[in-house]
């Protein structure tokens, strides 16, 4: 029986090659999207699931609570670990660690230097009691107790000491930044499963006192939080998370300023359970070099996959029920031969399954290709090998069955319900209802496609707007380099600047901090007294010398720039001006800003510019010189303009690098361009755009294929009618209208439904931006017209040929 079914299913697929092809491709697109996105979901949901006592492990994070809302911070202060040990009960182990970014590490015995090793931390021996590792050499009881000890992971050990048995590494010395030696006391295995604990080198905590982290580690100010300061702890068995959190709340409150607390302002330590670590973007993970997984993104991707699958299933349902009349005869015969309804349902579901299976096979190839196309979205650890995972395979099979039922159930019931007498007598009444259903599904398809199209156009329009809006800052032909932070001498910076001035292709060279528009944050609170009232303003600082202003095209509205680089004089922007309660720029000049007990003059007012990506409004910004030079110079970048006429850009940059090397022989030269910096603000939007383009393309493709098949089918049914009409004198145009108008009606209905949905969805998306493009009517019109044109093109492919046929021929064949 099964063999018989498969045989007939295969022959049906084979005999209707075009329709089968359309079915398989449509479903395969949905499947491949689902597979890839399913892989991503599986990948991201299986982080850190393997730790021993994982449900008892927490990371401490910080929440800054105020009546205006809560800010979330990924680090803690340097005192928390000890406070936990003393004041909080129910904890088994507490470990503090500090992320460390050494410039280099020297492998003494091999005379080798590795630059900027990543994933290095200073930590105590408790770290290994909280997070369990498999020790390949040394042990956790004796490691990291003394200063100048280090434990490596196997991977790191292998890169420092290739092909050396791990036992031989014990006692070997690593030298960090030429000054901090550390003896290897252990080697641990890397985790075999996915983990956010990415650390590769663990240096004993007391060693931090020899490094530039000393001030952070020894900081005794409770309110000094640092993103590099982390605390992990493990509770005793049976201790609930909320009892720990209660104690943490009490601890946090007891250390808060009483007045602030009364105002509802305090900093709260939050016990973040291990299972929240991977997805909670408010606190991040320990590795900033890769974008964090986001449930929202996964959800959106999942919705895209779901829609693509639905569109594919709809094609299947539409094509199968449209072909029902052809299958009806077979069904009638089978029933007279003794088939039950159930047997027929199984036959059709079997056929559907075969097609679905075929699609799945095709989709594996497509998925492989999609993984490459979307490499930018996909975590690098996610590869095709995951397809062999039993969970993934099970999920794929379940998906196959679900899709089979989804697309096969309705046609199977319609078809198997035919009464053999009416079938054999050519009287099919059940057909009409299926036509209505089919129309509904087609409308749904075009609604989805249309929403995607409008969305794509509007996202494109918004990104175009963001990229081209005048932000009040020059970006063309401007480049900047970051100066080495560990070589802070201002004389060297000035030397570099003077040397660069000899390159004729460079003009307007400036020493300063970050560019006017950038992601860097350097803000502080100032107070301002006016009419007996004191207001607090959070001001974003931009540091620069006298030429910084000219280079970036900033504009003074009143007053002047600071008279020299180090005098504490402020130039404020218009937003700040208004925050301080002034309207005319001249009014602010000469006023005093209060910082602590000292006051500093406002000497000028500059025109507003967008100091941040256009997601946010302009905030109060001040321009100052290198006012903290005595403590720490803020001139950490060198900016310059390259003459627009410069022919040999690469040669010019080479000259810049040569001069750099002569001043800073040991530091890496990394140049950034201002226009790229601004474009990079919108990288995540551009990724959204890329994804949306793809989703839209695929949605259009599936819907178009479905439309093509339906048009072919219905037109074939009407060949005789067309022949007769032609004999009666109908023109080509009239026939074309006759054949297309039903479908065009569906597309029109779809547009009416899609437009408000797209409007609503895009409205939500645009809410993330302070600066929004207009949702112009023409975007909607354009997408509607585009859809109609596309549909007409697809339909004409078949209808024109049919309408042009010689009527004598078509009437004879009937």
């Amino acid at each position: 029986m099964l063999k018989n079914y498969i045989k007939i299913a295969w022959r049906n697929i084979w005999n209707n090659k075009l329709f089968s092809f359309i079915n398989v491709i449509s479903l395969a697109i949905g499947f491949s999207a689902s597979f890839v996105i399913g892989l991503m979901v599986y990948y991201d949901f299986t982080f850190d699931k393997f730790h021993k006592d994982g449900d008892r492990i927490y990371r401490a994070t910080t929440q800054f609570i105020s009546p205006e809302g809560t800010d979330h911070f990924n680090g803690v202060n340097a005192l928390l670990a000890d406070a936990l040990k003393q004041d909080v009960s129910g904890l088994e182990n507490v470990s503090a660690f500090y992320t460390y970014r050494p410039l280099k590490v020297e492998v003494e015995s091999r005379d080798l230097v590795f630059k900027k090793p990543n994933h290095v931390i200073f930590t105590d021996s408790d770290y290994f009691k909280v997070i369990d590792y498999n020790w390949l050499a040394g042990n956790k009881a004796t490691s990291l107790l003394e200063p100048n000890e280090v434990v490596l992971t196997q991977q790191r050990a292998e890169s420092y000491f290739p092909n050396t048995p791990v036992e031989n590494l014990i006692g070997k010395i690593l030298m960090y930044n030429d000054s901090i030696p550390a003896k290897i006391t252990g080697v641990v295995a890397n985790f075999e499963e996915r983990s956010d604990f990415v650390f590769q080198e663990f240096i004993s905590l007391p060693t931090a006192l020899q490094s530039d982290l000393k001030s952070m580690v020894t900081n005794t100010i409770w309110d000094s939080y640092n993103s590099d300061a982390q605390v992990l702890f493990k509770t005793l068995p049976g201790v609930a998370g909320n009892t720990i959190q209660e104690q943490l709340d009490n601890l946090s409150k007891s250390r808060a300023d009483k007045d602030d607390l009364a105002d509802g302002e305090w900093s709260r330590f939050y016990a973040q359970p291990l299972e929240e670590l991977h997805f909670d973007t408010r606190y991040g993970t320990f590795d900033y070099s890769v974008p964090q997984a986001s449930k929202k993104v996964l959800l959106n991707l999942g919705i895209v996959a779901l829609f693509l699958l639905l569109l594919g299933s709809i094609n299947f349902i539409n094509l199968t029920t449209a072909q029902a009349t052809q299958r009806a005869r077979e069904i009638g015969i089978r029933k007279t031969l003794g088939s039950s309804k159930k047997q027929l349902i199984f036959q059709f579901l079997g056929e559907t399954f075969l097609l679905t299976l075929l699609s799945a096979l095709v989709s594996v190839v497509l998925a492989f290709w999609l993984l490459r196309v979307f490499a930018g979205f996909i975590p690098s650890g996610l590869n095709f090998g995951l397809f062999a995972n039993p969970w993934i395979i099970t999920a794929m099979l379940v998906l196959l069955v679900v899709v089979t039922l989804l697309s096969g159930m309705y046609p199977a019931f319609v078809l198997s319900g035919f009464k053999p007498v009416s079938v054999l007598k050519n009287r099919l009444s059940s057909q009409t209802s299926a036509t209505g259903f089919r129309k509904g599904l087609t409308v749904f398809q075009f609604v989805v496609a249309q929403v995607f199209i409008i969305g794509t156009l509007l996202v494109g329009k918004q990104i175009d707007y963001l990229m081209h809006k005048d932000i009040g800052v020059n970006t063309a032909n401007i480049a900047y380099v970051k100066l080495p932070w560990n070589d802070a001498a201002i004389t060297k910076k000035k030397l570099l600047k003077n040397k660069l001035a000899t390159i004729p292709e460079l003009s307007t060279i400036s020493l300063g901090g970050a560019p006017p528009a950038s992601m860097y944050i350097n803000s502080n609170l100032v107070e301002f007294s006016k009419d007996g009232e004191t207001i607090e303003v959070l001001q974003e600082q931009r540091f620069g010398d006298a030429t910084y202003f000219d280079l970036y095209g900033l504009e003074l509205l009143a007053g002047r720039k600071p008279i020299n680089d180090t005098i504490k004089e402020y130039v404020i922007n218009e937003t700040m001006l208004h925050k301080l309660g002034f309207t005319a720029p001249e009014e602010a000049v000469g006023q005093q800003l209060l910082m602590g007990s000292k006051s500093y003059p406002i000497v000028g007012v500059m025109r507003d510019f967008n100091e941040k990506p256009l997601n946010s409004d302009i905030q109060p910004v001040v321009f100052v010189g290198d006012i903290y030079r005595d403590w720490f110079s803020q001139f950490n970048m060198l900016h310059f303009k390259i003459e627009p006429k410069t022919q040999d850009l690469a040669g010019t940059l080479e000259k810049v690098e040569d001069i750099w090397k002569s001043v800073y022989p040991d530091s890496d030269f990394e140049i950034q361009f201002m226009d790229e910096t601004v474009a990079n603000f919108y990288r995540s939007q551009q990724r959204t755009q890329k994804l949306l383009n793809w989703a839209t393309g695929l949605a259009i493709l599936i819907s178009a294929l479905g439309l093509l098949a339906l048009v072919i089918y219905t037109t074939e049914r009407r060949i005789k009618e067309i022949g007769i009409r032609k004999v009666l004198g109908a023109s080509l145009m009239e026939l074309q209208v006759l054949l297309c108008k039903d479908f065009l009606k569906l597309i029109a209905i779809a547009f009416v439904i899609a437009a408000p949905i797209a409007y609503w969805r895009m409205h939500i998306w645009l809410e993330d931006f302070a600066y929004k493009t207009e949702m112009s009517w023409w975007v909607f019109a354009l997408s509607g017209i585009g859809m109609v044109v596309l549909a007409l093109a697809i339909m004409s492919f078949k209808t024109l040929r049919t309408a042009m046929r010689n009527p004598v021929k078509s009437l004879r064949t009937e």
């Binding site: 018989n4 089978r334 031969l337």
Partner: protein, 225 residues
């Protein structure tokens, strides 16, 4: 007695009025009979055959098949009954285009859950008997009308039915092919298969041992000649 129809009425509603397709039909069929139903086109021959074959419903009357009251049976039991005892032969053959000759003949056995080895033997016998062994891997479209009808009959016979219902089995055939089919029916009948056929043709009707005349859904008295 194989089957008995008692005062069968079948009608459809058209514009609120009843249009009778079968009007008070009573009929007794003994096992081993060969009955021809005659009547002009539209007189209700197919409808009557479909009712006897349990493919179609009727509104009034009793139908007893092999001692079972068909009118009060559930769909499932009825299906079981005809699957077991009845074979159909159609004017338009109604072979499944996607299946070969062999597979078409085999299909009824599949629905009766007969073992593969047994199926093979039965189909082989049937191919042999109708001299179509050489055609077994061809598809219906590759056969002539007469050959297709042979396959249709072979398929109707494969499950060893007690009753063959043939609706104008020679309607699409030329007279020579038609005669061959009729000879075949005669032969089957002598082997004990009960046959009811609908036909226009006097000469075909004469193969039967009883003729029933239908007009507008009613049984007519047999005209004497």
């Amino acid at each position: 007695m194989l089957l008995q129809l008692n005062h069968i009425y079948k009608w459809v509603k058209q514009g609120g009025k009843r249009v009778f397709l079968l009007n008070d039909i009573s009929l007794d069929v003994e096992e081993g009979e060969f009955i021809s139903i005659m009547g002009p086109s539209g007189s209700g021959k197919s409808t009557l055959l479909n009712v006897i074959g349990m493919l179609d419903e009727f509104q009034e009357g009793e139908y007893i098949f092999d001692g079972e009251p068909v009118h009060s049976l559930k769909e499932k039991q009825r299906a079981k009954l005809y699957k077991e005892y009845i074979g159909f032969v159609f004017q338009a053959y109604h072979l499944i285009d996607e299946l070969t000759v062999y597979e078409n003949i085999e299909t009824p056995l599949l629905y009766k859950n007969i073992k593969s080895s047994e199926r093979k033997a039965l189909v082989a016998d049937m191919l042999d008997r109708f001299n179509i062994v050489g055609k077994k891997d061809l598809f219906p479209a590759q056969l002539s009308g007469g050959q297709q009808q042979l396959v249709g009959i072979a398929r109707a016979l494969i499950a060893k039915p007690k009753l063959i219902l043939a609706d104008e089995p020679t309607g699409n055939l030329n007279s020579k092919q038609g005669e061959e089919i009729m000879e075949l029916f005669k032969e089957l009948n002598t082997e004990g298969v009960t046959i009811i056929q609908a036909t226009h043709s006097e000469s075909n009707a004469a193969y039967g041992n009883r003729i029933i005349h239908l007009l507008d859904g009613s049984k007519q008295l047999q005209p004497q000649n």
